[in-house]
Symmetry: C2
């Protein structure tokens, strides 16, 4: 197990040009600004923030998040504050490093019960979610002899995009009733409005944030009216967290990608391009002049295959090209994109596809690629190279992977 | 460094149902059959096989490959035989475990020269590739004082899909001439016909294999006619390796994905669905009956976002659904696919999109997902759970990642 008192980082100052490519860069000033922006917003709204650590999967990023939340006076913030995880492996890793208030926000099934039990035994205040009578009964039966109860939130569907029960449906109360015995404790409801990723413009983002809030609060009120305690109303995504006008009835907000931001968030109007903190450093490895191609050593293994948003948003291919200092190359929000990729090769073309507009730079030139989706791109890398304000590499921060 | 004499595997027999999901499964009988099929073909053609370890990134898979090649009498096979790598990290890992004849098949740039030098110093017989006068000059200058020369292959483009020089162009001879000094040794040419992934039918696969062979041989002959030694003519991909009718003039074949096979190879007619050795074990975590959705705990993090082949091939979404024993569910090559995904959620629908044809299985039911692209799906996982002929988990085999 990781020593909770061990330092989370180790110093490693070196020039950017010393890195082998491809490498995942994390711009610390931009990271800090992103953390502060969300912390200020949550402090203003007066709602607890439970950051989703699935984006970074990195202890030092979570520690920096806690520091920003504490400094801004976010309700519930702590030195090892509340977190959301997408895997029980994240729960293991963060628990071993001292984070104890953890919500696992993917519907629980029986083959994970033993793992949940181990985390509770290790002193983790673990919250799980489910959305079916079957899962509620199975967990109630398995947990009957657990000495510490597991907290349960019922997942609510507020936008028809993924899992969860309708806030106004009969199943909500049936699932609550199916949770029984001393091993489980119904704590309330949780929802995630992934529909925010399809919202064009500020008004649409505000509307979807309100839809998420209203649905979750309605579900909690129906549980309470039926005699169930439902103290927790957990909502969130980065767009809805930043664009919600009010969060009446909500007790906590979850958000993940705001720590790094990405081209999807920029397309939605949630951030500017120069606020994106994560990028992939790459080298020009060749050219095919006839086709207007510049080849780079960042293929889908380094970038992921996430193509970002479809339908009405600008196509950024597999990522947008910046110079080595992180400045977008070209006019109007960038002109060169990674238009296709093999495992370790990226093919850079002009956005127009015009072969005459090749990015004609010498072999060996360093570039950065801004990611469509920071969660997906970061997942392809074992660590972050942390850049200071001077652009030099200050530290290497480890990520973890797997389940 | 890894101890080259340490066992590469450790026993861990357990029932499949004991695994937490998602998990990457590797069916050992199918793996062995795939290895034997390629080995038999190469032995028949009488050409050296240099397996591409980028697919598995796993020492025991490479060791099993060597054993199959030795048993079949493949030219050049050895206990730690020749390999191809896509990253210098693979070279490090395999070299530390005893593999010494390594070709790094991505165009080299200056920020990797020091790493190449370290590998040569450690006794690795390393071959690198390049396709520009600039890269040839830079490497020649850097390597001038290296005590052991680095072998160089000039990358040749035989299908217009990626990097490399035209076999019939002037640049080929210019790059050869730019390699100079005692630190570099021109060994020949290398090509990869990625166009094979767009070939519909056996005749098209045979034609593209011949195109790959002929182009590489032409390039080598032009180098030799101009006075350059070019003993190595390296070609290959899984489809062209298995469908080449003759390989006159070729000295080695590279192929990677054949060890696992995948839905893309099945679509091309290179394998059957029941020959695919890698799959993702997942659990049903819920349903949205109105939409015909079955939710599983394998999202893009477990499956990758690789959507496989476009243009005329059957859309398999993010993967094809099998039962827990690996049998495709439904008629006509499978009926249920992962039609979309979030980070840890997959949405399974009928191929037709008809919501009435929901895969109505209880929460907790185990399923397997066949991958579109085994290289991409396997890269999302830290290890393989190796299944024996009885379907039980026999071992856990580690993968590595990064650069």
């Amino acid at each position: 197990m990781h020593d909770a008192n061990a330092p989370l980082t180790r110093p490693l100052t070196r020039p950017l040009a010393d890195l082998e490519t491809p490498a995942l860069l994390l711009d610390e000033p931009r990271l800090q600004a992103n953390l502060q922006r969300m912390a200020a917003r949550m402090a203003q709204l007066g709602v607890r923030l439970r950051p989703h650590v699935k984006t970074a999967k990195c202890l030092p990023v979570a520690a920096a998040t806690d520091s920003a939340n504490l400094a801004a006076g976010v309700p519930g913030a702590g030195e090892r504050g509340p977190i959301t995880v997408s895997t029980l492996r994240e729960a293991d890793q963060f628990a071993a490093a001292g984070w104890r208030d953890i919500t696992y926000a993917v519907g629980l099934t029986a083959n994970k019960f033993a793992h949940v039990h181990r985390l509770l035994d290790a002193g983790v205040a673990l919250t799980v979610i489910l959305d079916s009578v079957d899962a509620a009964r199975a967990l109630s039966a398995a947990a009957a002899d657990w000495p510490v109860p597991v907290a349960v939130l019922i997942e609510v569907d507020t936008d028809g995009q993924r899992a969860g029960l309708r806030p106004d449906g009969a199943a909500l109360l049936e699932v609550a009733a199916a949770l029984s015995g001393s091993g489980v404790r119904l704590d309330g409801v949780l929802t995630h409005c992934g529909g925010a990723y399809h919202a064009h413009g500020e008004a649409a983002l505000r509307a979807i944030a309100e839809q998420e809030r209203a649905g979750a609060v309605q579900a909690a009120q129906r549980l309470r009216a039926a005699g169930f305690a439902a103290p927790v109303v957990s909502v969130g995504s980065t767009p809805t967290a930043l664009f919600a006008e009010q969060l009446a009835g909500v007790t906590e907000v979850r958000a993940g990608v705001y720590v790094f931001m990405d081209l999807m968030m920029a397309a939605l109007g949630v951030c500017r391009l120069d606020e994106i903190a994560a990028s992939v450093l790459t080298s020009v490895i060749g050219h095919q002049p006839d086709k207007g191609w510049t080849l780079i050593d960042a293929g889908w293994m380094a970038l992921s295959r996430d193509r970002g948003l479809a339908g009405g948003f600008t196509d950024q291919g597999l990522g947008l090209i910046c110079d080595a200092d992180g400045r977008v190359i070209g006019d109007g929000g960038g002109e060169w994109i990674v238009s296709s990729a093999n495992q370790e090769h990226g093919i850079v073309t002009h956005r127009s596809g015009d072969p005459a507009r090749r990015l004609d730079l010498p072999v060996g030139t360093l570039l950065r690629v801004l990611p469509n989706h920071a969660c997906a791109t970061a997942a392809q890398h074992p660590h972050y190279e942390l850049l200071g304000a001077d652009g030099a590499v200050r530290q290497r921060w480890a990520r973890f992977m797997g389940w």
